[in-house]
Amino acid sequence: MDATERIQAASNFLLQSPPGEINDVLNDIRTIIADDELLQDGIKAALKEYNIEQFTVVDVPEANHQSIISEAARVEAEGLDEERFLDPRSKISFLFDHLSLEASDPKPIEPDARHEEFRSALELASLNYLKAHFKDGVTAIFSPKEGAEHFVVQVVANKYNPTNFWSGRWRSEYTIDLNKKQVAGKVLVNVHYYEQGNVQLATKHTVSFDLPVAVASAPTSAASTKIFALLEEEEGKLQVSFNETYHEMGEKTFKGLRRALPLTRQKLDWDKVMGYKLGAELSGTKSPQPASVS
């Protein structure tokens, strides 16, 4: 395998990292590839892609809250050769190290005056929503970017418990388009349980609905509260539906794959199982299909 292919393979592994385990995955890759110099530059793109995709949480410099690294947070500015990310809450842009996950060089940024009022109203509603339903949630609300008309709402919650071999991540992202009067979004949940095994839950849920007319016509704080009431209801329903899906999987799929006990409700009598075969063999009535007990 040449260097390019090895980098590609390493990047592919990194992007599959379960919540909170990218450093463990990276450590394994270092031993396997055994070429730190090659990796150092080679995996930069993958680390960045991972952080953006997974809504990596960052401590915002000079603020005592966290924000989210994502495509929406990427600052697009002309003549900028460095990549900066935005924390819309403190209105600060910063440089981000995709390996150490540290932010640096904070600079104030002027918010878009046309959108800031509604954006901060959404932010307030989102923070209240977090308080009500997430123990360790982080949110970020972005105004429409140049040439776009939709606000972006993001929520991420992580729980890492390596001592007990599990980790989990909840990601939600919604776009709120006041022109099209529509909300569209997705919720992604990942759980990894790895005590003497490797079990993963991966869910993907997409949703879209029309904004109520009153909300769309008057983007106010009342409107943002209403939007979050709808999102709260939708995510609550989704969480309840997991229970139903689990129940269905347990009752139909799991039981259908393997019974807890045979139809006889007893374990097999192995002496009989063996004896039957032996008897059939001795009497010369060996059938090509073994006895199927139904």
């Binding site: 031993t31 339903h133 909840w170 993907k204």
Partner: protein, 291 residues
């Protein structure tokens, strides 16, 4: 290099179980020298093959592989054919035939479908007497008729070693079960139950997918009495049956219990803020009464 293989195994314990085959292949390409050890240590989903001689299905895995060919437990033939493929001694083959028939019955009783195979191999050291080893593999797949029906697969791999001690035998069993469950949902398929449920916002559309996948491994060692060579099969059969019952409970607990608990740790359905306020109110009341 022991360290590289350790890192490979750690990596495989972290990456998504749904992509095991692809990731193992990538590791083999990166470190061809470690390929044999990796393939022996990482369990991969079993492949269903059809015996050309008998038409019966059997399972392909690393244990019945010789080069690119797989040996059928029914006809003892390799596919693609091999002139000098490794086969068990005639004594061992006799026990293997019995084992395949016994576990086929076991499979039918518990799985009501699927495919099973048993492969035995002679002791590496000829002076090892009748101490042999083997594997019992079982696979069942549920294929949905439509994309919105749940699907799933179960792969059991039971590797065992036997050591005869007079009229007793000592067995060491290592069992891995790989289980995948997938359910898709779409609002296009929602039955209109107009009155009972509160109507959501206009134009509501939902699509969802829930995938639970993974593998768990457990070991067990036991001594059982020996009457004749077929006692081995019933002894191993009892151990495998007990192990599968134990592991099925464990899988149920982890798949449907633990992963759900983590989701509820991430997000609470109940309003945490309300609960907090309730608590504070209670504290205040307690303080008030004490005064």
């Amino acid at each position: 290099m022991a360290e590289v293989i350790d890192s490979m195994l750690d990596l495989m314990r972290r990456l998504p179980p749904t992509r095991t085959e692809e990731n193992v292949q990538a590791l083999v390409n990166i470190c061809p020298d470690e390929a044999d050890e990796l393939l022996q240590s990482v369990d991969q989903p079993l492949q269903v093959m059809v015996d050309r001689a008998t038409g019966r299905e059997y399972l392909a895995c690393d244990y019945n592989r010789d080069g690119e060919s797989y040996r059928s437990p029914w006809s003892n033939e390799y596919d693609p054919p091999l002139d000098d493929g490794a086969v068990p001694s005639s004594k061992m083959r006799k026990i293997e035939i019995q084992a395949n028939e016994a576990f086929d019955t076991y499979r039918e009783m518990y799985y009501e479908g699927g495919v099973s195979s048993a492969y035995l191999w002679d002791p590496e050291d000829p002076s090892g007497g009748s101490n042999f080893a083997g594997v019992v593999v079982i696979k069942k797949t549920m294929t949905p008729a439509t994309p919105l029906e749940p699907s799933g697969s179960w792969d059991s791999i039971h590797v065992f070693e036997t050591v005869e001690r007079g009229r007793q035998a000592h067995y060491k069993l290592t069992s891995t079960i790989m289980l995948q469950l997938l359910t898709r949902k779409s609002s296009d398929n929602d039955k209109p139950n107009s009155t009972s449920e509160k109507k959501g916002p206009d134009g509501l559309k939902r699509d969802g997918e829930v995938s639970l996948s993974g593998s768990m491994t457990r070991q067990s060692e036991q001594d059982w009495p020996l009457q004749d060579s077929s006692s081995h099969i019933s002894n191993i059969g009892r151990m495998i049956e007990e192990m599968e019952i134990k592991m099925r409970n464990l899988l149920q607990e982890v798949y449907f219990g633990k992963t759900r608990d983590v989701v509820y740790d991430l997000r609470s359905i109940d309003d945490l803020e309300k609960a907090r306020r309730q608590k504070e109110l209670q504290k205040e009341l307690v303080g008030f009464i004490r005064r």
